[in-house]
Amino acid sequence: MPAIRPASKRKPPPEGFADIEEDLLIFANKMKDAQNAPTDNIPKHQAKWPIFQISHQRSRYIYELYYEKEAISKQLYEWLLKNGYADAMLIAKWKKNGYEKLCCLRCIQTKETNFNSTCICRVPKAELKEGQDVQCVSCGCRGCATGD
């Protein structure tokens, strides 16, 4: 286990971190709230939905800052990934065709399902029945197909 360094000896984050620090703090607080929220009277499978959702939002935020708005430097982006502010595996999927809006990695994990299929949220709205309202079991996603 690596030594835990005191704050004064820690390497400061790369330049530009100050710009996004506040928003990251908001995400951190939201995550903390979600983690501490009681799960007594909600179905068991829904207990982790807010955590998945916040994680997705934060990853999306960093992904957009780096790839779409080009607002943060490569160093900062890598530092953020390394420090767990964003999910690198999820972002890796977003770069692929057909996965641009993927909600979470579990929803494309075919090995975990009975019929080796993806989650219902991966089905485009056009192929669902008229007026069918879906919400996936793993993260509460209502549909993350690219064409929607």
């Binding site: 928003d23 708005k69 607002a71």
Partner: protein, 611 residues
């Protein structure tokens, strides 16, 4: 075009001579045209024009004079004795037990009897006309009504009465006479009044009507008026006779004729009270109410005109404008461009973004998101550029400021450097390779040496430095806090201690001239760009405002429509309920009621036709 209040009843008119045809003018008047002679006239041909207008004023009015300025000559009076005689004959022959027939007849009958009566023939007594019949008379077309009256100063009993359509007449409540043509006696006073009105309009003072001096005087006079009215036909006739001997032109409108009837028939009075306001009998209250009504109407119309006018001036809100408006909103609320869109939405209530009308300039969340992303990318780029510019600033400026604060003759350069090695200003910057330790040492030594110089020399040096700067950069409008970098980067600037130096500089700046007017072309171009941007923005905001107003108006209109529909629905329901109620008498009464209702319906139909 003004409408005459008088309506000839078509049934009573004799047939037209051959070659003449009857037409309706766009204003609603009937006129007659002879195709062979290409002659057209308002007067009904074939009938020798009656020498008098059909109103009660007829005995003393000159036959050719049109009583209403701007109105068409009245058609000949329809009074036809033979017709009325026939009517008298016909009445008993018809089976009046049938309510439909009776009602239809009565409607016709009462209508025809009116002009006859006004003609002074006095065919029917009050007893002959039941209240129920008069209700069936069609409501009069919009008639000219008195709107405001002003006392004519100097000619005391006289009033100048303004009507709804902007006409005016002189009115003498004592003699109870009205004249369209202002009598010569009071003409100078009226001219004075007009002058006063124009003057007030120009000065922006309240109009004459609101001035207590011009208000109709007191209740006594009103009472006198009322009494005069109450005294009845005879009294009126007397005054009119008196008037006619004095003035060549006495004008009494048809309204007034109706009022004469009122005096005679109290039953009719009730009905006409609210609509036929003759000039004689309007009281202070009526006048106020009418004025209020007119003002209300006028306001509405004005607003509508405003909308119309603005619609012409302001272009509709285009898509690009809507996007720009949303961007303006983001910029105005100082939204952090690094923040996610979700944050804007989450905190929209708190920051007041949602309540801003510009938020609704874009209709969908998807569009807003698009615009937000675009805006944030550009804002971040702009921020980065601004920062890069900051970096490029002379590194000497912060270093010299630091020296002024910390450098003392007690420390050698090596000591100073070691002591403050962690400070930003002591570190080499990637952007300014040329400003290295050697430069810093040189500046430090020079500064320490200068500290030993006498105070007066330091001051004169500073003055020399200030004088070397051009007037465009340093003038009486610049402040000591924002001096040009040329001064800040000079060693002479920091030699004096900060307080005395700032005082000295402020004094110097105040003694300077104002900046030269002629600015460089580049600056002017920049100004131009800024100005244009501002104008564009103003235009966009105007367009948005216009749209908001239109939406508001539409909403109001819809509400009104809804209310009307609802009222109609309620009315229908009530009618249904009434129809559902069958009392004990059963079918008989139901049938009777039905017949009566049918009669009513037929009357209504007739009324419509007559209109």
């Amino acid at each position: 075009m003004l409408k005459s209040t008088y309506k000839p009843s078509p049934g009573a008119l004799p047939p037209l001579p051959p070659g003449w045809t009857e037409h309706k003018a766009p204003t609603g008047h009937t006129y007659y045209y002879n195709a062979s002679t290409k002659e057209s006239t308002y007067k009904r041909p074939g009938v020798t024009p009656t020498p008098t207008p059909p109103a009660a004023a007829s005995p003393f009015g000159p036959p050719s004079a049109s009583p209403v300025p701007g109105a068409h000559p009245l058609a000949a009076a329809p009074a036809n004795p033979s017709m009325s005689y026939l009517q008298h004959q016909a009445v008993p022959a018809i089976n009046l037990s049938d309510p439909r027939v009776a009602n239809a007849l009565m409607a016709q009958y009462s209508q025809q009897s009116q002009p006859q009566h006004q003609g002074g023939r006095g065919g029917f007594g009050a007893g002959g006309r039941g209240g129920s019949q008069q209700q069936q008379r069609p409501r009069p077309q919009p008639v000219d009504k008195p709107k405001a009256k002003i006392a004519i100063l100097g000619c005391e009993p006289w009033f100048l009465v303004y009507t709804k359509y902007g006409r005016r007449f002189a009115f003498n409540p004592v003699k109870n006479a009205s004249y369209w043509r202002i009598p010569e006696k009071i003409l100078p006073a009226v001219i004075e009044l007009d002058k006063e009105r124009i003057r007030r309009k120009a000065a922006g003072e309240p109009p004459l009507e609101e001035d207590p001096r011009y208000k109709s005087h007191d209740k006594e006079e009103e009472k006198a008026e009322g009494k005069n009215l109450g005294s009845g036909q005879q009294g009126l006739e007397e005054t009119h006779d008196y008037d006619s001997s004095e003035y060549e032109e006495v004008e009494v409108t048809d309204d007034e004729g109706a009022d004469h009837n009122d005096a005679e028939h109290p039953s009719q009075h009730q009905r006409t009270e609210d609509e036929n306001q003759g000039p004689i009998e309007f009281t202070e209250d009526d006048f106020a109410a009418q004025l209020a009504m007119m003002e209300g109407d006028g306001m509405d119309i004005d607003q509508e005109y405003d909308f119309a006018a603005q619609a012409e001036n302001v272009e509709p809100l285009s898509d690009a404008d809507a996007r720009l408006l949303f961007r303006d909103l983001l910029a105005d609320f100082r939204i952090n461009p690094y923040s996610p869109f979700q944050k804007l939405i989450d905190e929209g209530d708190k920051t007041g973004v949602f309540s801003d009308p510009r938020y609704t300039a874009l209709s969908s969340m998807r569009e807003r998101r698009e615009v937000y992303d675009e805006w944030s990318r550009e804002a971040i780029q702009a921020l980065k550029e601004a920062r890069a510019k900051e970096e490029k600033k002379d590194p000497r400026i912060p270093y010299l400021a630091f020296l002024q604060e910390h450098a003392t003759p007690k420390l050698y350069w090596a000591e100073f450097k070691r002591k403050y090695r962690k400070e930003d200003v002591m570190k080499d910057s990637a952007h300014h390779r040329s400003f290295n330790d050697k430069e810093r040492e040189k500046l430090y030594r020079e500064h320490i040496n200068r500290l030993k110089l006498p105070h007066t020399q330091l001051k004169s040096d500073l003055k020399k430095l200030l004088e070397s700067v051009q007037l465009r950069q340093l003038n009486n409008r610049s402040s000591a806090a924002s001096l040009p970098s040329q001064i800040l980067a000079d060693i002479r600037y920091i030699s004096l201690d900060a307080k005395t130096r700032d005082e000295f500089i402020e004094g110097y700046i105040q003694g300077l001239a104002s900046p030269p007017e002629a600015q460089s072309a580049a600056e002017e171009a920049e100004d131009e760009v800024l100005r244009k941007a501002r104008e564009e923005r103003k235009k966009r905001e105007k367009a948005l405002e216009e749209r908001e107003r239109r939406v508001e108006e539409e909403k109001r209109r819809q509400e009104k429509r809804l209310a009307v529909e609802r009222a109609r629905l309620r009315e229908e329901e009530r009618e249904l309920q009434r129809a559902m109620v069958v009392d004990k008498k059963g079918l008989q009464s139901q049938l009777g009621g039905g017949a009566a209702a049918g009669g009513e319906a037929s009357k209504e139909d007739e009324a419509k036709e007559e209109r």
